[in-house]
Symmetry: C2
Subunit: 404 residues, 2 copies
Amino acid sequence: MSRMIVQKFGGTSVGSEERIASVAQIIQKASIDNSVIVVVSAMSGETNRLIKLAKSFGENPSKREFDALISTGEKVSAALLAMALHQIGIKAKSYTASQISMRTTDSYSKAKILDVDGQKIQDALNQGIIPIITGFQGITESGDVTTLGRGGSDTTAVAIAAQMKAERCDIYTDVDGIYTTDPRVVPEAKKLDKITMEEMLEMAGQGAKVIQIRAVEFANKYNVPVRVLSSFEPGSGTLISLEEKDMENGLVSGIAFQKDQMKYTLHGVSDTPGIAYSILGPLSDANIEVDVIVQNISVDGKTDFTFTVSKEDEHATSEVIKQMKNSLDFDDVIVDSQIAKVSLVGVGMRTHAGIASTAFKALSENDVNIQMISTSEIKITIVINESAVTKAVKALHEAFELEK
Amino acid sequence: MSRMIVQKFGGTSVGSEERIASVAQIIQKASIDNSVIVVVSAMSGETNRLIKLAKSFGENPSKREFDALISTGEKVSAALLAMALHQIGIKAKSYTASQISMRTTDSYSKAKILDVDGQKIQDALNQGIIPIITGFQGITESGDVTTLGRGGSDTTAVAIAAQMKAERCDIYTDVDGIYTTDPRVVPEAKKLDKITMEEMLEMAGQGAKVIQIRAVEFANKYNVPVRVLSSFEPGSGTLISLEEKDMENGLVSGIAFQKDQMKYTLHGVSDTPGIAYSILGPLSDANIEVDVIVQNISVDGKTDFTFTVSKEDEHATSEVIKQMKNSLDFDDVIVDSQIAKVSLVGVGMRTHAGIASTAFKALSENDVNIQMISTSEIKITIVINESAVTKAVKALHEAFELEK
């Protein structure tokens, strides 16, 4: 019996008729030795075109209609890719989320996958047909179309790989793998052949941009090995492996960074029990993902509560804070949109001390002012001014000798 | 209880963000006194853009994938129109064919509507929500997407009007009604305030282009009054009425004509019983609509069989004829792509003699050579050379004094 693999192609990989034809060749090759299931994104530019159309009817269009609108892009690319495969003699059929019952929660634009009916996919495979599935989207219990958020096609691919018990999920993109940091910022950045799921989770969350964090979470939960590789050039990419990494591989695996962040500080909050919940609860209810959170010690019964969110949630966050004023006592809100996050990630951190001090020394020597610090077992995150990002990443890359 | 009407907006009516906003105003006005259900086409140009994408993967892409692809256009315009209505404070929701179970046959690109679940539409209306339904498309028993053929959105609208027992179906387009003939060809052409279903059936079938023939058939079958009017300028349009027209209204109501036709003659067919079926059967199986059919008398046990099809079926027709060669004995095939059809239509023809002779006299005086003639109770159709269309239509328009 042949091995089953899922291949996911991102927007740039299917960005033109020529690219789609070239992706068909990749699928054809893979299908010689494997049972292949394909997941596609919209052609690059298409989702933005649709968003622009929507914005002409107001800045905050109905989320149900917005999802119905932007989910059409993947339907287009899936059908075109099926045609491209037919053209080279490969049997293929496109499937929408509705057709394979890709069920999600009803949080429009940020829906979470609940389950997927693998039978239709299996039926296609049994008939020697390659199923081409629309990424990024699902349907609710009542049949409304949802989307999974930017980059959600990765999550679709991994969810299908998990459901179908595929051997591997290959995420094809326009980069040839995961690097120690962004090579556009640090030219010495090195491609990693392998990275652990845990490291990747921390990297993706900080905006490594190659693969969506939820996809890695899914992969982690269901033990799906994921490989990230390029559809533009041959190469084995980076395998996001299930195994623990050899300790020799170094302390820090990579440096992630992310701009387009907002920092909110609720100043002078009355320090009563349950503050954190009364702030984070409403944000979560509004589907806003809060990232770094810092609460300072209380002075005179008052405290400052600071958190960061993605800039795209700016409007929603302001609305939530406005309503919070009714139930929570605080003096004022300080908003900073000129910030960025930088994270050091590495499984090695667990067992080695001194990483934080090496990092802060390097930053200090380069005059990078640190605004917030947050640490986990395998990650150190700092929030700094947006303008200092390049300087900070270069300094850290050098300090941990990642170019070697 | 307010009256229920269906409003259908064609491609040019929703051809841009501005047009969509203007259509929202039309819907708003209608919704003051009526329960409104809306059906939309794709934004003009969109379907052609998608077809062009498909054609880059071969001239004859898989029909299943082709339908999956081109059906995305209406999903876009439906969602955008819902957003435009929200912007002016009107509750609205877009619905795809799948969401309202618009079931069709599985003849891709030429599917016929089987039934539609009115409950979801009624639920929306009961909640004061205007349902915006994607025209032109349906789903098969197994959930595959189908399309109804060019102009199929009209049929969607009438089918929904019939299902919901609406009082009227308003077809908004870029012309202000039905004319005695094409005003671009005969400037004296007059707008008709009213036309009977039967006349309209004959007009549409011959390419009046304002409304699709199947839509009128549906309207006729389910007694749905249809009105054709412009979304660009105010006006009452033309009502396609259920009642018989007053006889005084003249013998001929209009002149329709259609180019983009192909004429096939199977020359020297052995005249055995069942010829017509053995030719028309395979064409019908291939979903090719044969229009004018003429079989000449038999000479020496051989006959000529001539029929016309739409130019878009050229490829399919050639294929079918090629295969026919195996089972049918004929000498050769004569193909003429330089033809056009011209039809005189009028309920009055039933009770008045002499119309044919008036017509043929006018054509003869203008040197129009007639290739084929076919008549029905309320229509006379002639096939002529494509280059003679304007001359023929003008001559007939004048002969029957339609400008008065």
